[in-house]
């Protein structure tokens, strides 16, 4: 059976034009998707049943037992951490937050090691952005700064920028200028009209230099800034100033390098500066297909987009204190529930060590690095394949993922609802 307009649950592009062919409970072909989509839809490596650790080994267990054990672990803990969320649908994220509220727990999502610094910058200076269609239809200058879409967001350029024809740009590839800024000549840099190679940690200085040029202060720019020549800086600034509509997309090159949130703040302020001359937007390249969704859901319920601590009975937010990497490396939490993410693979070693030390439970369809650190793993349906729910694209547009077939796994929502009910029962009124 062919299904049209399928939404891909992999990266922040949230492409919704895939055509998949389903036979029974397998996806057998994918059209319009990138490599990541093909792997996601046609992969077949799921954990078959819930498992839990017994001594130095693992045994299969049932959903009811696994969920009850999990509830007990969370209720016994003084300071549980509920982490992840970016790989599941909004309805499940919502339950997760309410669960954290009644547990008095910490609840955090993958922004904490991804675009958390971007959020910190936005909280200082705001976010002048737009939906991706505005870029597709209008942008004549596109900048990818510290991000490599060809590898991480493979269809970004064809759906939204370089190769995407729009209403006001009928031949995008010809009419649109592409600037790529990176410390290395990535695949994306290879096809740029202008590649700016920066020394690692030099983004802040280059952004400041561009801001100065945009403000009309060319005279103060030294011959080179962080490895970028003055000539190139002038050339790039002129490209930006002559744009009719410029779009800056940035990624982990800015959030993870020296300066972190300050890099992004500088980039946003450059964008705000440019808006006094022409139209410019800036937007983060969100990694997971629903990490922005976790920010949205966290915010409308608690007021804060990530790193929320309910221990005081109110919603408390203090990145650096309430962020997962810090909480784990300080050995502050004594139980952890991981949903739809893999901190074992993506957090520093000291955090993985603590996850192994405390009772950690993972709700995830696949065996991953965190599995080896957990006491229990509960496999669930994959959102967008055998579960449906709301996702928020990297630009904030909400799209509902589809259920392609009814499988045998429960959804994240079903498991979390059951978990919530048991916790509520244990905790009492």
């Amino acid at each position: 059976m062919k299904i049209d307009d399928v939404v891909c649950p992999f990266c922040g592009c949230l492409c919704d034009d895939l055509v998949v062919e389903v036979e029974g409970t397998r996806v057998v072909s994918v059209e319009n998707g990138c490599t990541l989509a093909n792997e996601k839809f046609m992969g077949d490596h799921r954990l078959k049943t819930p498992i839990h650790r017994e001594g130095k080994g693992w045994k299969e267990t049932t959903y009811d037992e696994a969920i009850r054990e999990t509830a007990e672990i969370l209720c016994d803990a003084d300071r549980p951490l509920l982490y992840g969320w970016s790989g599941t649908h909004g309805e499940a994220q919502s339950i997760g937050i309410h669960l954290a509220e009644i547990l008095g727990a910490l609840v955090d999502n993958t922004s904490t090691v991804c675009h958390g610094p971007s959020i910190l910058a936005i909280q200082e200076v705001g976010h002048p952005g737009c939906t991706l269609g505005q870029v597709k239809n209008r942008a004549d200058v596109v900048i990818y700064w510290g991000t490599n879409p060809i590898d991480a967001h493979p269809r970004h350029m064809s759906r939204y920028t370089t190769f995407a024809d729009g209403f006001f740009l009928k031949e995008a590839f010809r009419d649109r200028k592409l600037i790529v800024v990176d410390v290395r000549k990535s695949e994306s840099a290879n096809i740029a009209d202008e590649f700016v190679r920066i020394q690692p940690g030099g983004d802040y200085a280059v952004l400041s230099a561009l801001r100065a040029i945009v403000q009309g202060k060319r005279g103060i720019i030294p011959p080179s800034v962080a490895g970028v020549s003055r000539e190139q800086l002038f050339r790039v600034a002129d490209l930006l100033l002559s744009a009719k509509f410029g779009a800056i997309f940035f990624g982990l090159g800015l959030t993870m390098s020296r300066g972190k949130s300050k890099n992004i703040r500088n980039a946003i302020e450059l964008t705000e500066e440019l808006n006094r001359h022409t139209k410019f937007i800036i937007s983060p390249m969100r990694g997971h297909w629903n990490v922005y969704g976790s920010n949205e859901v966290f915010t409308w319920i608690t007021g804060y987009p990530y790193a929320v601590d309910f221990a005081r009975g109110i919603a408390f937010y203090n990145p650096g204190e309430t962020t997962s990497v810090d909480v784990l490396s300080r050995k502050e939490c004594d139980a952890c529930l991981v949903v739809a993410s893999d901190p074992g693979a993506h957090f520093p070693k000291a955090c993985a060590e603590h996850l192994a030390r405390i009772p950690t439970v993972q709700i995830d369809p696949h065996v991953n690095a965190t599995t080896h650190l957990s006491r229990i793993q509960i496999p669930v349906a994959v959102t967008g394949i055998d579960a449906e729910g709301t996702a928020y694209r990297m630009d904030g547009v909400p799209i509902r993922t589809r259920m392609l077939f009814r499988g045998t796994y429960p959804s994240d929502t079903a498991v979390l609802e059951q978990l919530y009910a048991i916790v509520k029962e244990i905790k009492g009124p």
């Binding site: 993870m256 693979a345 520093p348 993985a352």
Partner: protein
């Protein structure tokens, strides 16, 4: 020799996210890209093992030449091997120095380890299906 360790996404790494215990993922996540001139100075050949050490940790990876990386820097896709080397210090930002860790790289004949091995080093218990 000292290098700045840069980590980031690659499409291969992305394709194996649901198979992190596979050989294919291990190959990608232990692939260290180095400038050919640095490789010459380090006296290592394509595909040979290197010991990558940060402050307190070390991990074995395999080195590959890449013209697109400058001398003095290396690139590994994000994942447990790279993160074994990253300190949890976030400087109050919540974000560790994923793109700012200095490492020392030396040739070695030690073998690669699996993701399960790495997690056991952290105190975990391997799960094999």
């Amino acid at each position: 020799m000292k290098f700045l360790l840069n980590t980031g996404r690659t499409i291969r790494q992305g394709s194996y996210v649901e198979r992190k215990n596979s050989v294919a993922y291990q190959e990608e996540a232990t692939s260290l890209c180095m400038n050919p001139v640095d490789m010459m100075n380090l006296e290592v050949e394509e595909g040979s093992q290197v010991r990558v050490e940060s402050d307190q940790e070390s991990v074995i990876m395999k080195v590959h030449p890449a013209l697109w990386i400058t001398q003095g820097e290396v690139f590994v896709c994000l994942g447990p091997y790279a993160n074994h080397l990253v300190k949890p210090e976030t400087h109050g930002s919540g974000m560790p120095d994923f793109k700012g860790t200095m490492v020392t790289i030396t040739p070695t004949s030690e073998p690669l380890v699996t993701v399960a091995d790495l997690m056991e080093r952290c105190g975990g218990v391997r799960y094999e299906d």
